[in-house]
């Protein structure tokens, strides 16, 4: 697929070219949205807004090669906006919802949720993005607008923190006897 060609066409107002760009990137848009928002309906709202904004602003994109990370930055901004809007509702909902039992969801999933909640939110987000198959350190550097070495340093720190929290959780689970 000729991404640069489609970006140039889309910048001239060609909707079919823009549609091809979105179709190519729709999965990663969703996966990135899902790192910030838990609810799929919110993800759909964020992606919808991101598509509309991307179409409005695509003329401002100077380098067609950066389309994907530029688009993902728009998705992240929309998700952060929705996350902020929903924050109060989510807090109430979380208090009212029954606690999820580890038997229903698997130990690893629950432990991972606890691990990510224990990390500073920016480290949790970075780790989630980094583990999406189609996102490289170079992509992260473009998304965060930082040098690749800075991203590597952030990742190393986040992984060390994650490892130590995980080990603490493992030890706790073992001691409390809830783990086989």
């Amino acid at each position: 697929m000729d991404i640069a060609g489609d970006v140039k066409q889309a910048q001239k107002g060609n909707l079919h070219a823009f549609e091809r760009l979105i179709q190519t990137n729709k999965l990663i848009m969703y996966q990135v949205a899902k790192t910030i928002l838990t609810n799929d309906s919110d993800c759909a709202d964020a992606i919808q807004e991101a598509i509309l904004k991307a179409f409005e602003k695509i003329k401002t994109l100077r380098e067609p090669g950066y389309f994907r990370t530029w688009l993902l930055r728009i998705v992240i901004n929309e998700c952060n906006y929705i996350h902020r809007q929903n924050k109060k509702v989510i807090e109430i909902h979380e208090r009212m919802a029954p606690l999820t039992s580890s038997e229903e969801n698997g130990y690893e999933k629950v432990e991972l949720e606890q691990l990510l909640e224990s990390l500073p939110s920016e480290e949790g987000s970075l780790l989630k993005l980094y583990h999406i198959e189609d996102i490289s350190i170079k992509d992260l550097a473009e998304i965060y607008q930082k040098p690749e070495n800075t991203i590597k340093t952030w990742l190393r720190r986040a992984r060390e923190n994650a490892r130590s929290i995980w080990e603490e959780q493992e030890g706790y689970q073992w001691k409390s006897g809830s783990r086989n």
């Binding site: 001239k12 107002g13 060609n14 909707l15 079919h16 070219a17 823009f18 549609e19 979105i22 179709q23 729709k26 999965l27 848009m29 969703y30 996966q31 899902k34 790192t35 799929d40 309906s41 993800c43 759909a44 709202d45 992606i47 919808q48 598509i51 509309l52 179409f55 409005e56 690893e108 999933k109 432990e111 991972l112 691990l115 780790l127 989630k128 993005l129 583990h131 999406i132 198959e133 994650a162 490892r163 995980w166």
Partner: protein
């Protein structure tokens, strides 16, 4: 790799859920009909429908109007030249009022030719003179602020339909929608974006009658509540007003058909939402007579371009399957001055959706898309779609995807109009 990382990889690399995919598809579809999305009020512009016939002039001609119109490279009404079916009808019913005013908007010279307001949208006819940014002939509107009786409406949306004429001039219609109810007479002003300069002041008066039918029926699907409020028959459009709850946007399309099974062509929509509720008005082509019943069916459609059907034109009609939605029969193709026009007839569930999804492919399977919407041949389910920059038709295939229509039957409602 550590266990938590393996779990994280599993968690973040999830497939795209179907309903999110459908929202993406619907957004792209809506975008195809949109030229601008204002902050709150979403407005879907009417699809462009050009007419080859230029008929009927305006009924009364004043000297300024005549002078302005003399400078134009067209004869007759812009509404009838480039307007959608409703505007053509409104113009033919002589509901349009002349403007004939030439204005300078930034670097661009524009002639405002006519206006039409029948209680639904405010329509303006205009001609944009060269030199013009051909990639974005509608960009002039970015520098315009609209006021009604000298006040800025709280929510305003607009859409364009634009055609390029032979001499490089663009003729178009600008349709403006405001959320609040408008008086029968008002002054529409076009100001510069900093509001220091007045480009034009246009007295508008509502013309023609309309008939409104209360529906007040509520339907529920997946906890989403839809209250159909009313359907109003204007001379230029049929408008369905509804309220929705428990969803942030009305992400479905709506099919309206009469008791004889004739489907109304959708021409746009507008609405606003706040958190998990909102209101929306869907516009369709006008009805010439009042039917006994109208059936309203919300639906999703999914387009599978990877599973396409294709055919090469060999001088006889050929039918291509469009999946569950129906089929398209190619009736003719004509190559004139490097423009290839395909004439085709649609049969099936999603006529208007089906008509839009036609493209060409060359001998290397490179897709060639049209840069304009299909034009319906009035009174039929046949359309014409033109592709530019085609030098010859050797090895050119006509392609269409598989289209699946998913009706939301729980949201369906039938309205008696003659009871």
């Amino acid at each position: 790799m550590e266990k938590w990382e393996q779990e994280l990889i599993k968690q973040v690399n999830t497939p795209l859920p179907e309903h999110v995919d459908q929202r993406i598809h619907l957004t792209l579809n809506h975008l195809k009909q949109n030229h601008k999305k204002p902050t709150k009020l979403r407005y879907i512009a009417a699809a462009a429908a050009a007419s080859l016939a230029i008929s009927l002039g305006l009924s009364a001609v004043n000297p300024n109007f005549a002078e302005a119109m003399r400078s134009l490279p067209l004869i007759g009404s812009v509404f009838e030249l480039v307007g959608h079916d409703g505007l053509k009808r409104g113009s033919q019913l002589r509901l349009a009022a002349e403007i004939g005013q030439e204005v300078q908007i930034g670097e661009q010279r524009v002639t405002l030719t006519e206006s039409l307001y029948d209680g639904s949208s405010i329509h303006l006819g205009l001609v944009i003179h060269p030199p013009i940014d051909e990639n974005e002939p509608t960009s002039i509107v970015n520098d315009i602020v609209f006021t009604i009786d000298h006040k800025r409406p709280s929510n305003l949306g607009y859409g364009f339909s634009m055609e390029k004429l032979k001499d490089g001039t663009f003729a178009g219609t600008l349709s403006i929608d405001v959320e609040e109810r408008l008086p029968d007479q008002f002054l529409l002003s076009l100001l510069s974006s900093d509001e220091t300069k007045t480009y034009a002041e246009i007295p508008i008066e509502r013309q023609g009658g309309y008939q409104s039918f209360t529906i007040d029926e509520t339907r529920v699907w997946n906890a989403i509540e839809v209250n159909y409020e009313s359907i109003t028959l204007f001379p230029t459009s049929t408008q369905l007003a509804l309220l929705f709850r428990n969803t942030s946007s009305p992400f479905w399309e709506i099919q309206v058909s009469d008791d004889r099974g004739r489907r109304l062509r959708p021409t746009g929509g507008r609405g606003s939402s706040h958190k998990e509720s909102g209101s929306y008005t869907y516009s369709f082509e006008p009805l010439e007579t009042i039917p006994k019943q109208l059936t309203i069916k919300p639906y999703f459609s999914s387009i599978d371009t990877s599973n396409k059907t294709r055919a090469v034109w060999k001088g006889v009609p050929v039918t291509l399957s469009q999946g569950m939605a129906g089929s398209v029969t190619v009736l003719d193709q004509e190559l004139v001055n490097n423009s290839l026009t395909i004439t085709y007839e649609i049969a099936g569930e999603g006529v208007f959706e089906q008509a839009r999804h036609i493209w060409l492919e060359d001998s290397k399977d490179i897709p060639i898309h049209s840069d304009r919407p299909p034009i319906r041949i009035q009174g039929t389910d046949s359309y014409q779609l033109t592709f530019s920059n085609i030098s010859n038709t050797d090895s050119i295939s006509i392609c269409t995807p598989q289209i699946n229509i998913h009706y939301l039957q729980d949201l369906e409602v039938t309205v008696d109009l003659k009871s």
